[in-house]
Amino acid sequence: MRLIKVIPTVFKQIMRSPIRSFLTLGGIAVAMFLFVMVESMRTGVREATQATANETTLVVYRKNRYCPFTSRLPQYYGDRIERIEGVASVVPMQIHVSNCGASLDVVTFRGVPKDDITSAMAKDGTISDGSIETWKQRGDGAIVGSSLAKRRGIKVGDRFKAAGITIFVAAIQETSKAQDRNVALVHLPFLQEAARKGGTGTIVTQFNVQINDSTKLQEIASSIDETFAHDEHPTSTFSETAFVGRAARDIVHLADVAGILAWGALAAVFALVANAVVLAMRDRVRDHAVLQTLGYTGWLIGWMVLLEGASIALIGGLVGGIAAFIAVRIGQFTMTMEGVNIEMASGPSAVIAGIVIAFALGLFAAVIPALRLARTDIATCFRAV
């Protein structure tokens, strides 16, 4: 019971030095903000690039090409791919981006045949505004992903120009898949003619292939590549996640480097709490001696120190974590490279993990000062004054 009763005292101790507590809390909050932002980015990259057991989508690309501007495959390859055993459907796609490099706010156009529009949309994709019928009726119509529409402030009925292409917004697509939330689906012939000098006629960037059996993913990928191995345009076929990981390698690399920063942020939290607790203990030697004369045992005082460390870390973690969560939700940051989009994960998992880790680090950082204090007798405390 006494363990709980001391909680108000612990908070009073924290409030006794408001400036120093504010400095420590501020430092922890900043470190946790950074940690949660980095973790959200890493989670986004992981979700986009990690293979799942039930994956059934393959992407057929030109061999030895990364950039959508350089991958050119004849559209008639689609019929030959469709004849391969295990292939359920094939959607030829032309990809057009404002720039192949990695950056934020890149606009990606996907040209798809009119009849394949439902296959080209995300599996869980729904039209939140406008209609597919309007898209079908207009040659320059586009179904714009909700994130892209929000980022660029466009709505149904608007005309929108990017990467040298002007489109009419026919519908807005809502989906949980970052890849589809950040693209504009347009008619394939329109993009083929608008994107390249003199039009590209029957040339596409890639084929998205749906297969029936996820266990045969690699087998079918190999069959496709073997079919075109001796053609003028040999292919490389990947699962969708592997394709994203390969195309967005700079972003994956950036996420790996950012991982080091996340560890650095955690080390900073540990150092800040340990520093704050050690400094506070030095200044409060006399207080501890008084507490011991009032009947507080060494272990109870140690417990109070532990609570102090954990509370500072928890409050700092909550402030920084929630601020990062709000920033990610509002910002909806998407990084694009070579036409693939990776969105920072806006779920609560990174925040929860960050707050729990901050709390644990706070406890851990206070353990040694707490133990030292618990073992110090009254006389030593008074002598230290």
Partner: protein
């Protein structure tokens, strides 16, 4: 005003070695991160700044002005431009009109896959890009699958000395190429590329279009090229000066630059707050000492100056350590990103920024704790730690 001796501040530093180390480390970390962020921005900007020339005009495909890699124009464009525009740079009867292909491709070197920007050029390219020099070896010859390697590209593929790459074989789209020389371009973006013969690259990539034509102006004006692009609708061209193009590229990468800077700033704020905390604790425990100094006749301003001196000394040590680390370990550090390769530049300006930040940290870090120490009346200060 009677001042406290400077030795008073220096000797105080050794009173708590742990605190001293902590404060030095945190100020050093803050300064180092400020220098990294500055070096990143300066390095990236410098690469883009020296890459363009106001006298060079790029003719790209209409609608592709944001990215030369996206652009496609006809093979005959270079000839038509040379025949249509007067006043282009000419040397020994060769006109400064360079047809080029820019393509990002994976290359296999020493068994490893790397992504590099390959530029297919004709000899006219050396006339147009006059900052380019072949520092070793020779220019690629037609039909021999030869390559020039940029100085920075050599470093990104694992060679500290670019000259070591000469004679190495790389695989480009199943074709074998040999590196025959090293090129330098005054630190421009070209140093992160590989150059080969235009026709060889066309054959390897099965491409029958150009990415762009770069034109070097002499007496001709940029508006002449604009008028040419506007009048020859059939060629579907857009004219943009090299400076303007690289400035647009710089804008495109601005969010990434800002992300790096913001990250460094956030870590720096964390370090800064930790350092302030230590300084605060260090000064706060000396309230009685400050009271004693006042009874000895030292004015508050004299004591404040001494405390600031102490803080500046600590921060300066951190700043000097950070500057040394930055100059020795990070200057010239190669960063490869989508835009190409650039190096962190720890030049005199960045070192001045680092040292200046360190001194500023020392002053700012001492102000609040010093005010707290000095605001108490003398009797209260003398009683404070009793």
């Amino acid at each position: 005003m009677k001042r406290l001796p400077f030795e008073y501040a220096t000797r105080n530093l050794g009173r708590s070695r742990t605190r001293l180390v902590l404060t030095v480390c945190s100020s050093g970390l803050v300064v180092l991160l400020i220098m990294i962020a500055g070096g990143f921005m300066v390095g990236m900007q410098a690469t883009l700044d020296v890459s363009g020339s106001k006298n060079n005009i790029i003719l790209l495909g209409a609608g592709s002005v944001e990215s030369v890699e996206r652009s496609e124009i006809g093979m005959d464009t270079a000839g038509i431009v040379a025949a249509s525009i007067d006043g282009l740079r000419t040397r020994a009867g060769i006109e400064g009109v360079s047809p080029e292909i820019h393509i990002q491709m994976p290359i296999e070197v020493d068994g490893e896959d790397r992504l590099v920007l390959i530029r297919g050029v004709r000899p006219e390219a050396y006339l147009v890009h006059d900052q380019v020099r072949i520092i070793k070896g020779h220019s690629p010859r037609n039909g021999r699958n030869e390559l020039l390697i940029g100085k920075l590209t050599a470093r990104t593929i694992g060679y500290d000395t670019p000259e070591e790459t000469i004679g190495k074989t790389i695989i480009l789209d199943d074709d074998e190429y040999t590196i025959t020389g090293v090129l330098a371009a005054s630190g421009g973006i070209i140093e992160g590329e590989m150059w080969t013969s235009l026709t060889d690259l066309q054959i390897t990539t099965q491409r029958d279009t150009l990415s762009c034509v770069v034109v070097a102006l002499d007496t001709a004006k940029p508006s002449d090229l604009d008028a040419f692009a506007a009048s020859r609708i059939d060629l579907e061209l857009a004219a943009v000066s090299e400076n303007e193009y690289f400035s647009m590229l710089s804008q495109f990468y601005k969010p990434i630059e800002m992300m790096v800077v913001m990250t460094c700033v956030m870590i720096a704020i964390g370090g800064l707050l930790g350092g302030f905390n230590a300084t605060y604790a260090s000064f706060a425990s000396r309230v009685r000492e400050v009271g004693s100094l006042q009874t000895l006749g030292y004015q508050r301003s004299a004591i404040a100056i001494s405390l600031v001196q102490e803080s500046i000394l600590t921060a300066s040590v951190g700043a000097i350590m950070a500057s040394t680390i930055a100059m020795v370990l990070l200057d010239g550090f190669t960063v490869r990103f989508s835009m190409g390769t650039f190096t962190l530049a720890m030049d005199a300006g960045i070192v001045a920024l680092g040292i200046g930040s360190g001194l500023l940290l020392g002053v700012i870090g001492a102000i609040a704790p010093a005010i707290r120490c000095l605001q108490l009346p003398i009797p209260e200060a003398l009683r404070a730690a009793e």
